[in-house]
């Protein structure tokens, strides 16, 4: 009874949930900006943000070295990590709800494989499109991911007009496998770009700068908006599509929107940072364990936790064996998996007890 009470208390105090999640995100951001080869005091960071971002007067004088480190390197990196984490987490939450499967992740429909093929093609052939130059890779990658999701949906529709989620998942798996072997083919054939390709595939948010933030932001806003406006429908659909239809949801149309929204987010995230695993699977799961499955709160809370988690993971990846940087995808899984296992076991015990 005590445990139930605790759980109900956590779930009924949504305000507390938002406060905690936001505090975590702010703390993660400050840590991410502060820690590194050159340590930047938190007070300086606040001053800097006040002066440079908010253009507040009277922020005092700040060492220009700090300004460069924070504004050109750490802040964009932290923001990018946050956006990628947020995108993957909310997309994962939405896919899990839509597919009624807590094991689904944003990559389940093959979008990430599509994005990877786009990016690796650029690396493999050393492509550089006119006018966009260094942004060839992310742009190609996003284009490939969007193409993939439409192909998946098109084929799923060919198989079955009503597009049941099982059909969509199967089609996604087929595409993932196919695109995955294309990737392997390119890796097998490549010579000197191997390290670059592998590095990209493992994921990283380093040395991206504000331009990458500019690339992901429109997709992040559109994708997030689509999903947040579908949260009630996601609640209904977790009781099955027929049930949702009976409750009054236009299932066919809404399903398409959610798939597109989630895929835009995933595609953009993969395009700017490679395939970072685990965030999209575990963050929604964790959020659901803590604050319940209501998507109206699950989605925004996943954004906050996902962002905080990836910022911390990135911080660890670049500091743990400094100066060498580990791929961020390795870190997310290395910390994520055991933490998740502990939560699951404790939750199980609590249920039995």
């Amino acid at each position: 009874m005590q445990k139930r009470f605790t759980r109900m208390f956590l779930r009924n105090n949504r305000l507390i949930a938002y406060v905690i999640a936001t505090a975590l995100l702010i703390a993660a951001m400050l840590l991410g900006i502060s820690i590194g080869t050159v340590s930047v005091p938190v007070l300086t960071i606040l001053q800097l943000i006040g002066a440079e971002v908010l253009h507040l007067p009277g922020m005092g004088t700040i060492d220009s070295m700090y300004t460069t480190i924070v504004m050109d390197i750490r802040l964009p990196r932290v923001i990018l990590a946050g956006l990628v984490g947020a995108s993957l987490a909310i997309a994962g939450a939405a896919f899990q709800g839509l597919l009624r499967n807590p094991l689904a992740d944003p990559y389940v429909l093959g979008v990430s494989s599509g994005a990877s093929v786009g990016a690796v093609l650029v690396l493999f052939f050393n492509l550089s499109l006119p006018f966009i130059g260094i942004f060839t890779l992310p742009i190609m990658s996003i284009a490939a991911s969007i193409l993939t999701i439409f192909l998946v949906l098109f084929f799923a529709r060919q198989i079955e007009r009503s597009m049941r989620v099982e059909t969509i998942i199967l089609t996604g798996i087929v595409f993932s496998s196919f695109l995955g072997s294309l990737l392997s083919l390119m890796i097998a054939l490549t010579g000197e770009e191997l390290r670059q390709i592998i590095g990209w595939l493992l994921g990283s948010v380093s040395m991206r700068g504000w331009e990458y933030i500019a690339i992901i932001i429109p997709f992040f806003i559109i994708g997030t908006a689509i999903l947040l406006f579908s949260s009630k429908e996601l609640n209904a659909m977790s009781f099955g599509e027929e049930r949702a239809q009976h409750i009054g949801v236009n299932v066919a149309r809404r399903k398409l929107w959610i798939l597109i929204g989630g895929s835009i987010l995933t595609g953009a995230a993969v395009a700017v940072s490679g395939t970072i695993g685990f965030v999209g699977l575990v963050i929604p799961h964790l959020t659901r364990l803590l604050w319940g499955p209501d998507h109206r709160h699950l989605l925004p809370l996943s954004i906050l936790l996902g962002a905080a988690f990836l910022i911390v993971a990135d911080l660890i990846s670049r500091t743990i064996i400094s100066p060498t940087e580990l791929p961020i995808g390795v870190i997310t899984s290395l910390i994520g998996a055991p933490v998740f296992a502990i939560i699951l076991i404790r939750r199980r015990k609590e249920r039995r007890g």
């Binding site: 609640n235 949801v249 236009n250 299932v251 659901r288 499955p293």
Partner: protein
């Protein structure tokens, strides 16, 4: 309210329904019955907008189903599914609240006071308010069913579709749910359409039944018309029997299990099974007999294997003789639930019994008779009622298959034979001095093996009637003479 006009359709490349038409009025409780694969669920999917009809139209409140948006439809029509998926642990209240979805317009509409009232009311009505903070997946099957009923009701529908609502419910919840639905149709004008597997439940609660057979309507009518023995046998391809419900004027369909191949057909009930002592006469049948009797225990109709005629003293006077008789039987290792028991003050050595046979039908008669308190039935008003152990107990065992009609006629025939004995033996009513017709507490038992020859009638000049009247007449006469011989000595 709902009218289905010439609807044909089903799944791609496979039409399940063929030219189906029916109407449902406001406040009606319509049951849809039919064997597996007859199209019950398909018609539900069409009416609820999940499947589209290939031909024909479905009108809901004079508008075609297709012209409703999903939300508009959900405000008029709600569905209680057989199973709802449970992917995530929502609480009861969260689940029920989802039913309000269709009443919210736009993206920013907040939870209103009215929404809260409706949700609380439906949780009260379905008896789940006390669970509202529990997780749905922690509830029992019956409780969960009521959560989804509450969710459907929170839609404030005018028409409710239920797909086998009693499927996972135990008896008391089945009754509770259906009573509730019936009440709502009466009080709030809610229209209910429900699929039933259980024909008896359907017959008990529905205003009308729609019997589907291979995607076509076999009959849409009152339950008593639809639940016709031959019709159900043909549609369901099985043997059933229709009987009236014992307490409410509704039909009940009973399954008949396949007769097991035990060879008892040659057995006839006769004195081999009779066990006599001064204390009681017992007949133990090797198989249950269908009986109609006026015993102290096991009276009315039923199936019994043991028949007891117990001697009690003249002074026997017990305020609760039925209870005492049950105790007596238990005390003598006789199972009262399988026994028809009678009492008599007559000495049991005066019993008369006889097996008579004719045209392959046999009847075994056992009579104990005493006329200490003989009564003329035509002047019975002159008697004061004082219950005494019966003095003429007549047992008629028929080796044959009787109809209910034959049972009743057997009682009449046996009684007439008994009255004739009273006249011929010149038994007088001590109070009125006129000719007696029996005693004040006579009992009768008709028991049939329900094997062998089919005997539809037992009037006095039918084969069976002749056997009964002859047997009862001779045995009663003999028993009476023995009794008189003893009394005069």
């Amino acid at each position: 309210m709902l009218s289905v006009n010439h609807v044909t359709g089903g799944y791609p490349g496979h039409d399940v329904l063929h030219d189906l038409s029916f109407n449902v009025e406001k406040g009606e409780l319509l049951g849809i019955v039919g064997p597996n694969g007859s199209g019950k669920t398909t018609i539900f999917k069409m009416v609820s907008g999940i499947l589209k009809a290939q031909a024909g139209e479905i009108l809901l409140k004079e508008k075609t189903i297709a012209s409703y948006s999903a939300k508009q439809l959900a405000k008029v029509l709600a569905v209680l599914p057989q199973h709802a998926e449970q992917a995530f642990p929502y609480t009861v209240k969260e689940t029920v609240s989802l039913g309000r979805y269709a009443h919210h317009t736009g993206w920013f509409q907040m939870w209103s006071e009215h929404d809260e009232t409706v949700v609380q009311k439906t949780m009260e009505q379905t008896g789940i308010a006390q669970f509202q903070d529990h997780y749905v997946n922690e509830l029992s099957g019956g409780e969960r069913q009521r959560v989804f009923l509450a969710q459907a009701l929170a839609q404030e529908p005018e028409i409710l579709l239920l797909d086998e609502p009693t499927n996972h419910l135990d008896l008391s919840y089945q009754k509770e749910l259906l009573d509730l639905l019936k009440k709502w149709t009466r009080e709030t004008g809610l229209t209910v359409i429900s699929i039933f597997h259980d024909l008896n439940l359907a017959g008990l609660y529905c205003d009308s039944l729609l019997l589907l057979e291979n995607g076509k309507i076999n009959l849409h009518n009152k339950p008593n018309e639809v639940l016709n023995e031959e019709r159900i046998q043909t549609v369901y391809r099985t043997t059933i029997e229709k009987h009236p419900h014992p307490t409410v004027p509704k039909p009940q369909m009973l399954l008949l299990p396949e007769k097991q191949a035990e060879d008892l057909s040659g057995l006839i009930i006769d004195e081999r099974y009779l066990d006599r002592s001064d204390e009681r006469i017992t007949l133990r049948s090797p198989f249950p007999l269908r009986t109609m009797s006026s015993g102290v225990v096991g009276s009315g109709t039923g199936w019994y294997t043991t028949f007891v005629n117990r001697h009690v003293d003249k002074s026997y006077n017990c305020s609760n003789h039925r209870e005492e008789m049950l105790e007596y039987l238990k005390g003598h290792m006789i199972d009262p639930t399988e026994t028809v028991g009678m009492m008599t003050a007559v000495r049991l050595e005066d019993v008369a019994y006889k097996l008579i046979e004719e045209e392959g039908v046999s009847v075994f008669i056992v009579v104990t008779a005493g006329v200490g308190n003989a009564v003329d039935a035509s002047r019975s008003r002159e008697h004061i009622y004082e219950p005494q152990p019966g003095t003429i107990n007549t047992w008629v065992f028929v080796n044959g298959t009787l109809t209910d009609e034959a049972f009743i006629q057997s009682i009449m025939t046996a009684t007439e034979a008994k009255v004739k004995v009273m006249q011929d033996q010149d038994v007088k009513d001590a109070v009125t001095g006129s000719s007696a017709t029996g005693t004040s507490t006579d009992s009768i038992l008709i028991a049939a093996t329900q094997r062998g020859k089919h005997l539809p009638y037992a009037g006095t000049i039918t084969t069976l009637g002749k056997l009964i009247s002859q047997g009862v007449y001779t045995c009663t006469t003999e028993a009476l003479q023995k009794y008189r011989a003893r009394v005069s000595v």
